[in-house]
Symmetry: D2
Subunit: 313 residues, 4 copies
Amino acid sequence: MATHEFEPTRFHGTFGRHAPVLTVADGDTIRTWTVDAAGRNADGHALADGANPLTGPFHVDGAEPGDRLRVRILEVTPNRSYGFGRASLARNVVDPEAVADLEHEPANDGAAWHVDPVAGTATLTRPHGPLAGLTLPWAPMLGCLGVAPADGEAVSSATSGRHGGNMDVRRLGPGAVATFPVFVPGAALFFGDAHALQGDGEISGTGIEISADVRVTVEVQKGRPPIVWPRGEDAEGRFTMGNARPLDQATQHATTEMLRWLREETGLGPAEAGLFLSQTARYEIGNVFDPAYTMVCRVPHDAWALLPRGGTA
Amino acid sequence: MATHEFEPTRFHGTFGRHAPVLTVADGDTIRTWTVDAAGRNADGHALADGANPLTGPFHVDGAEPGDRLRVRILEVTPNRSYGFGRASLARNVVDPEAVADLEHEPANDGAAWHVDPVAGTATLTRPHGPLAGLTLPWAPMLGCLGVAPADGEAVSSATSGRHGGNMDVRRLGPGAVATFPVFVPGAALFFGDAHALQGDGEISGTGIEISADVRVTVEVQKGRPPIVWPRGEDAEGRFTMGNARPLDQATQHATTEMLRWLREETGLGPAEAGLFLSQTARYEIGNVFDPAYTMVCRVPHDAWALLPRGGTA
Amino acid sequence: MATHEFEPTRFHGTFGRHAPVLTVADGDTIRTWTVDAAGRNADGHALADGANPLTGPFHVDGAEPGDRLRVRILEVTPNRSYGFGRASLARNVVDPEAVADLEHEPANDGAAWHVDPVAGTATLTRPHGPLAGLTLPWAPMLGCLGVAPADGEAVSSATSGRHGGNMDVRRLGPGAVATFPVFVPGAALFFGDAHALQGDGEISGTGIEISADVRVTVEVQKGRPPIVWPRGEDAEGRFTMGNARPLDQATQHATTEMLRWLREETGLGPAEAGLFLSQTARYEIGNVFDPAYTMVCRVPHDAWALLPRGGTA
Amino acid sequence: MATHEFEPTRFHGTFGRHAPVLTVADGDTIRTWTVDAAGRNADGHALADGANPLTGPFHVDGAEPGDRLRVRILEVTPNRSYGFGRASLARNVVDPEAVADLEHEPANDGAAWHVDPVAGTATLTRPHGPLAGLTLPWAPMLGCLGVAPADGEAVSSATSGRHGGNMDVRRLGPGAVATFPVFVPGAALFFGDAHALQGDGEISGTGIEISADVRVTVEVQKGRPPIVWPRGEDAEGRFTMGNARPLDQATQHATTEMLRWLREETGLGPAEAGLFLSQTARYEIGNVFDPAYTMVCRVPHDAWALLPRGGTA
């Protein structure tokens, strides 16, 4: 149960079977940091090219294909005083008839935010229009979190899949636990693309993009039924994350995984599990911007607590 | 500002330009009731055929095409002690590979619930398996709410559109206000398909289906910019409802309508309005079952309160 | 087997249960004409408002819900010398990033075509740019063809469904036969929106829009298994038409209907019918513009001729 | 302009920056062979694991990012006497309500075909039901064809993207030319997954799967505007291939690429290019089975020949 302090020096643009930067044991904690989505660190130095450069991969000893890797997020703390973002909606989230209107806007240099770690807020400093000075409470999170995918693929940190990746789920902040299927020996854990704040859907294509100090604990689970899509838990409930286009398909993945989870823990048949889910489920969009969209299916803890226990968990 | 007690005797299967059952004035309140999704009333008598028979249409004097009709929901109270639902997920909300598994279940008679108006709960009474006795707090709402559509269409109460309809948005309960575009003189307001409870997405195709006592106040708004998709307000925030398939398109409609609302009230340009929305928006699925799906885009009140005022509202 | 000469005087904007304009017998032929998509007749007089005003409904004696109505298209002949269209692609058929580029074009008055019934060609007369004089062979067809829908709906002639409607399938020209499910007594046949020419997808939202002389023969089929989506036959093969958004769902409808047709005529099980279809099917887009898109699934006659016979047809 | 005889000994499961198996010059021809989708060669020996093992990558000297790589397919000849396939439709191509029906079929061992290179036909030898002996003319093609993708990705040969890949376009057979964007030095050309025959959509998930002798000529094009999605030409016309889910998005990609091609060669503005395309385009589905679907947008040669010349081509 060691804690590793890790200083990253190189960053990856894909989730894949790259050489590990550090090997850790089951139960260990990693304390490190991430560059922002543009590759800049706490001092504003550009250390990497491309979108969403990743810290990792971390090799978790003993993790084997078919296992599950649980990642407990202990800390995601913005480690500098400014963040940035796009200052316009993405063209794919508005009606095609409204796209041209987005374009009529004078070209802009994007949004800039002052991030205050004491107050836990972000304040808009650019553009200098009527919104200047807007102050929102922060809610730091990891836009990218996942493992090496199956089949020898190396998947861009701009998108997501069964391995996790750039899911942009705002719940993946301090206190949350995410669970991934393991596809390669050692799992190959990566993370990055921290946001000081992000709305559902990441509909401008950015949150408030920030470098961050990150601390996570890893745990290998063996001998459990396989999971197909990433799962999570936070203070409000349990959730699954389906990654695909269109949202309909992401919804199918997230719902099917939640059904699998329910049945695994309760032993309920598909009809009863479905009956429960149909009255208690919540859906949220992780992102509707990346090449694969992310849909979150969630069951609040108070509803889950009403379930019988009788499954394999 | 009269209050009308209205006893419905016939019910419609479409939102359309049918003969009004009652004419009311701007500001009036209507106190009436709805049959359940199968056409049964508080006594369990079947009064109508087909899915989601509607109470209405109510003609609102003075409402003209281009106006807005605001409907304040004062009451949706289940008025009998049982509700029903399907006891399986809909086939379209799970992965195609998981559909056959739904079918392996023995045929069932659906779910039955005991609804307790004192406790404000629903308790599962059928099927008699491990979930029997599951008790959930109710959250009554109107699955169907809307006006006559444009272009002479008569649209089934099984689906939705710009006119509202069968949106199955769980927020449309007591205390909420919904606003619709007016397409025909008098607006032609309809409602029905009350649920004692419904999860996001209505993923079994039903909530807990119930007959209900309903009380609403209507208000005509003139001289405002036109709205394109229905809007709502409740205790938590403001929301818009986009109705289409796939969810991607419903998301575009809901987002574009929220952008329109933001700009109308603040005078912000599209880039700044988008910047705000991208950090504050929430998305929820109304339903992912009906012929048109419904996506809800929501901004919490505390975020909205930070906006400048300078628009036309 | 009478032939009726019918002079239309009023036109409908919806497929619905409107009062019949003419009652015909099973096997009869109707000779009439249609206004263009903007309601103008052979003389250029505007006779109707709205998009795609329809000729009909024709009541076919003896047609009952559950029957099939076969419509043999004997003639669709442009009956004036000019057609019109939009001179730009629809915004929904290009990448969101390319929409703004469509807008940079100077506003235009649309396209105008000279239609030559002797040569059977259409020649571009406006805009006056480098394409002026472009001459294409015509291929006249009916953009709108269908019956009254189920459940009391009245569905806009801008869209389509199980009842047919505005499918914009270029194969629905002279020589083709279309078959529809009957939902109401008398079927209530409508048609309109003739095109002198149209590419797959109707990607500008128009073909070469024209008024036309139309001649069709109607036939009622009883005692056959129900059809769910419209079917067609032409010189090249058999085809089914699925109407929905997104194209994926339209594809599912068209494929499922073709599977149904194959099995009905051959008695093959689903695996063998699927095996055949997977090596012989062709897919084409009817339209990717209207509220419901249309996908065509087609099997060429020479492939169909190889099938065993043993079904119920 | 050399011709290289190349005997493959290892095969890749991804399109990526793997070590070249052979370096060729611009204009050279490669004569080689491919294993079938299950990794079996002409003798039926399994030489590789996984789906769609690829022959390559071939390094084309001088190809640089931003260039185009043209691949002329001279030969795709099945080199053994049997092919195989699935004997059922994929679950995602039928209505969700029809999926269970596919499952009611007794489990089967798939389809087997006798391939006759003299007659140029494929004859069904399994299952032994009413379709046994069905003989179809072959139309050999490459299911997989493409280059290494951008951004360091290694993309599974089960799917497709801007780099081409598993597009399953039946037009990619002898006589066709495919053009790809170059993302890495040397382009890294791969191909495999030959089919003796395949319907539009590959709706069972397979064509008639075969090992094949393949001969292609490669050509590097420099100094041309970049292409975004793969393009092709065959005896019937020019076509573009958009790869994405849902089909709507694949359609947007294919249409936008065709618009780009038209404008590049003619100098037409977007409105006129769109006007032309809207009356002449054809759409076909490459596949509606793989993780990314493929839509083909096509313009027949006789229509293209009517265009003015004035572009940069």
